[in-house]
């Protein structure tokens, strides 16, 4: 964790003929396009954004926005260890990505001891679904969508029956995780996954906002306000009762 108050102060050198105040302001405008930025107090709730594509073993070209599991997993360990952090919000706007990386992130979030909440903002597609349901409480905004479809593989595939068995097992891992961490039952989830006609000629279903809640996949429709309320409620529940502490 970075303690913002204990950062080493850069020595300010005053040179004759130099106007440090003006140049600093000009520099700031040049670099940031603005002169000042709002300050925030230290937060007891941390935010984990799952953006773009969930990157697996292959590094995607730099123009892609990606979520890298090797960044997120140590951060999740740090969140678990840091006593100052009392809750976690997961923000999702992802198109999906690598199944194993996505499941690794989901399992890490699900095994945190601290209260967690997720918000599906624009889209939480494919492997975004297990990540969204891995938290204690999941929220979806009214306009957000989640595409549920069977897993796919691109690239070089060894053409043996075992490959397809492996894919079948991988599919089961996703289905099991989602059904264990949400209120949707396996039959309903599989029905959505293999539905025809919803995604033009593809198989699968695109569930929007309230539909995801009706299917039991997501807990409630809501945004930041609802998620923060829920998290603060959970954090308060975990705090030791002050009255009990006084009586000894």
């Amino acid at each position: 964790m970075t303690d913002l108050n204990n950062q080493p102060q850069q020595p300010q050198k005053e040179q004759p003929g130099d106007q440090p105040k003006k140049s600093e302001l000009v520099e700031k405008i040049q670099q940031l396009g603005q002169s000042n930025v709002a300050q925030a107090p230290d937060s007891n709730i941390h935010v984990l954004p799952i953006i773009g594509q969930v990157e697996g073993h292959m590094q995607l070209p730099p123009q892609n926005k990606t979520t890298k599991y090797e960044h997120l997993i140590p951060q999740l360990v740090a969140i678990e260890q840091n006593p100052k952090i009392e809750g976690l919000i997961v923000l999702l706007n992802t198109v999906g990505g690598d199944v194993e990386a996505g499941l690794a992130i989901s399992e890490m979030i699900a095994s945190l001891s601290k209260p967690t909440a997720s918000i599906v903002l624009g889209g939480g597609h494919s492997i975004g679904v297990p990540i969204a349901v891995s938290t204690n409480h999941s929220f979806i905004t009214e306009t957000a969508t989640m595409t549920i479809h069977p897993i796919r593989m691109t690239g070089l595939v060894i053409g043996v029956p075992q490959t397809f068995e492996y894919m079948d097992k991988m599919q089961d891992r996703v289905v099991n995780f989602v059904t264990q961490h949400s209120n949707i039952d396996e039959d309903k989830f599989k029905e959505l996954m293999f539905a025809k006609g919803n995604l033009t000629r593809d198989i699968g279903t695109n569930v929007v906002g309230q539909d995801a809640v009706d299917y039991g996949l997501i807990d409630a429709v809501g945004g930041v306000k609802e998620a923060m309320e829920k998290l603060n409620e959970e954090i308060d529940k975990r705090k030791p009762d002050e009255d009990e502490q006084v009586i000894q």
């Binding site: 964790m1 970075t2 913002l4 950062q7 700031k28 670099q31 940031l32 396009g33 000042n36 930025v37 709002a38 300050q39 925030a40 107090p41 230290d42 937060s43 709730i45 941390h46 935010v47 984990l48 590094q59 995607l60 070209p61 730099p62 123009q63 960044h71 951060q75 740090a78 969140i79 976690l88 796919r152 691109t154 690239g155």
Partner: protein
């Protein structure tokens, strides 16, 4: 040219290696950041990779800010 294939675009047209080298992931005061390495040896922040929301509002961590490694 029309390609009709289940392969992803990057499998057919791999990105130039130099594109990967332009940005590096480094730490600035223990906060992981994605940064662009400048010619004078300092770094310019492209993206902050922290979970601490207050870092995103801290003036030193705005995208475009420069720091020395």
């Amino acid at each position: 040219m029309v390609l009709y294939t289940p392969l992803s675009e990057v499998d057919i047209f791999p990105a130039d290696q130099t594109a990967y080298d332009s940005t590096v992931i480094t730490t600035y005061n223990q906060t992981p950041v994605k940064a662009f390495k400048l010619e004078n040896g300092s770094y310019q922040i492209v993206q902050v990779l922290s979970t601490d929301p207050s870092i995103y509002l801290h003036p030193d961590y705005q995208p475009g800010m420069q720091f020395n490694a």
